[in-house]
């Protein structure tokens, strides 16, 4: 759980209650739907977020992304960590 200024990442990240990943077929875009907010999601971010289901560990999410994009794990890990930290700070991810 996030609290105060602590932005350390949860062990098994999941979208916060009231936050949903949704494919907006009218606009052909992935979005995060949250209370009174709609956040556009760029392509690769969607692959990260749909794995944040509370069952996978952060390491598993990174492993799967590295395999999906056949990319160096360290690079993927940095990208994933940055993005998830930002979402934790916005309380969209717990």
């Amino acid at each position: 759980m996030s609290n105060g200024a602590d932005t350390s990442l949860p062990a098994r990240p999941r979208l916060a209650p009231g936050v949903r990943l949704h494919f907006d077929k009218a606009r052909n875009d992935w979005v995060l739907l949250a209370p009174e907010r709609i956040i556009e999601i760029e392509g690769p971010a969607q692959e990260i977020l749909r794995r944040c289901d509370g069952s996978r560990t952060l390491d598993q999410v990174i492993d799967e992304l590295a395999a999906l994009y056949t990319a160096e794990r360290a690079i993927i890990a940095a990208d994933v960590t940055d993005m998830l930290a930002e979402l934790v700070a916005k309380r969209l991810l717990v």
Binding site: A16, P17, V19, A26, P35
Partner: protein
């Protein structure tokens, strides 16, 4: 040209409500129960909304729990792919019914609160015991791990306590608090002399919100609906007329905003007669003030016209007598001084009584 699709739908499922708040956003002429849309029509509206690109539906009222089919309506909205937000007073929602709403796919709950102290809160709501039931309801919401916003409409009787509303929201487990300065339409306009705060009170409340926001960073989002009688520039009302959202009344009329029916001469279409997408694109009421072609000066050549869209049409009508005029909240309006004079006159401390919606008028003070 086809307008881009709306993002949000406000579904006013009913005007029935056990509370009688003096700032209620419902119109003065409330829709009768017998004229409410049936379940099947709402289900169709939700499907059509999702198809045309609406992403979020706000199930509101009156009190939406007054509808016995609320669980079916939440399920239908959810199954259409819509994000479902329930805007409620809590009255009529016990923990069992709330659990059924969650199981049906409810995403978020917005609970109104009138004040910090039960006696004052119940007096504002016109309903004894409401406050305590709201607190119990809030605990049930967080107990179900449902996302939750606390909404406080602020006015003269409670504006000194904006910081306390934020603290209460955090204590109750809300992720978000909405401090909504009263918007003076409908019932609130009728009650303006009982609701209007002084300029000093508004300034203090605005400064308080700015001061406490960083203190709650990462714990509680504090959103503000700004007051406009003491403003220098108008709000971007509804994010622009017929631009982002639409309202469906309990009777099925489709409006660009809550108060649009106060504007004479506008032709509203109903979901009983037309598809929602056709209403959005073609109904005269939506096209009346869509875009910028309808604007008069000084809006037409204003650098801010695509930021505030000329402010609010209903307020322009109510104060300036012309729905196409510049919103008098703007200091460029020739009626700006009039708006300010109304505020200063109505904020004068005096004995006051509320006109509670749906109830007998108060005795003269």
């Amino acid at each position: 040209m086809t307008p881009s699709a709306p993002l949000g739908l406000l579904a006013e499922l009913t005007h029935r409500c056990p509370l009688a708040c003096p700032y209620c956003s419902n119109p003065l002429a409330l829709v009768d129960r017998n004229d409410e849309l049936d379940t099947e029509t709402w289900v169709r509206v939700f499907h059509e909304a999702a198809e045309m690109g609406v992403l979020q539906v706000h199930l509101s009222g009156g009190e939406p729990a007054a509808r016995r089919d609320l669980t079916d309506l939440v399920a239908a909205a959810h199954d259409s792919g819509l994000y479902t937000n329930l805007i409620t007073s809590a009255i009529g929602l016990d923990p069992q019914r709330l659990a059924r709403l969650k199981a049906a796919g409810l995403d978020h709950v917005q609970l109104s609160i009138q004040d910090l102290d039960a006696a004052s809160a119940d007096r504002i709501a016109g309903y004894r015991g409401a406050h305590d039931r709201k607190l119990a309801f809030a605990r049930a919401v967080t107990g179900l791990d449902l996302a939750f916003t606390l909404n406080a409409v602020v006015h003269r009787a409670n504006i000194a306590r904006v910081a306390d509303f934020a603290e209460l929201a955090l204590t109750l487990g809300a992720g978000r608090v909405e401090i909504a300065h009263t918007q003076y339409y409908g019932w609130a306009l009728r009650n303006r002399a009982a609701l209007m705060p002084t300029r000093d009170q508004v300034t203090a409340a605005m400064e308080t919100v700015e001061r406490i926001r960083p203190l709650y960073a990462n714990r509680l989002a504090i959103d503000l609906v700004t007051p406009d009688y003491y403003a220098r520039r108008p709000k971007a009302c509804m994010g622009g007329w017929a631009r982002r959202t639409l309202n469906v009344t309990p009777a099925g009329r489709v409006l660009p905003c809550h108060a649009a029916e106060t504007i004479p001469g506008l032709e509203f279409w109903s979901v009983r007669d037309h598809a929602l997408a056709d209403i959005w694109a073609m109904s005269p009421a939506f096209n009346a003030f869509r875009g910028t072609d309808w604007m008069q000066e000084p809006c037409r050549s204003c650098a801010r016209r695509d930021l505030d869209f000329g402010g609010c049409r209903c307020q322009a009508l109510a104060i300036a007598g012309d729905a196409a005029a510049i919103d008098p909240a703007c200091e460029l309006s020739p009626h700006h001084a009039t708006l300010l004079a109304y505020a200063e006159q109505d904020s004068t401390p005096a004995d006051f009584a509320y006109f509670h919606r749906g109830r007998a008028a108060p005795a003269p003070a």
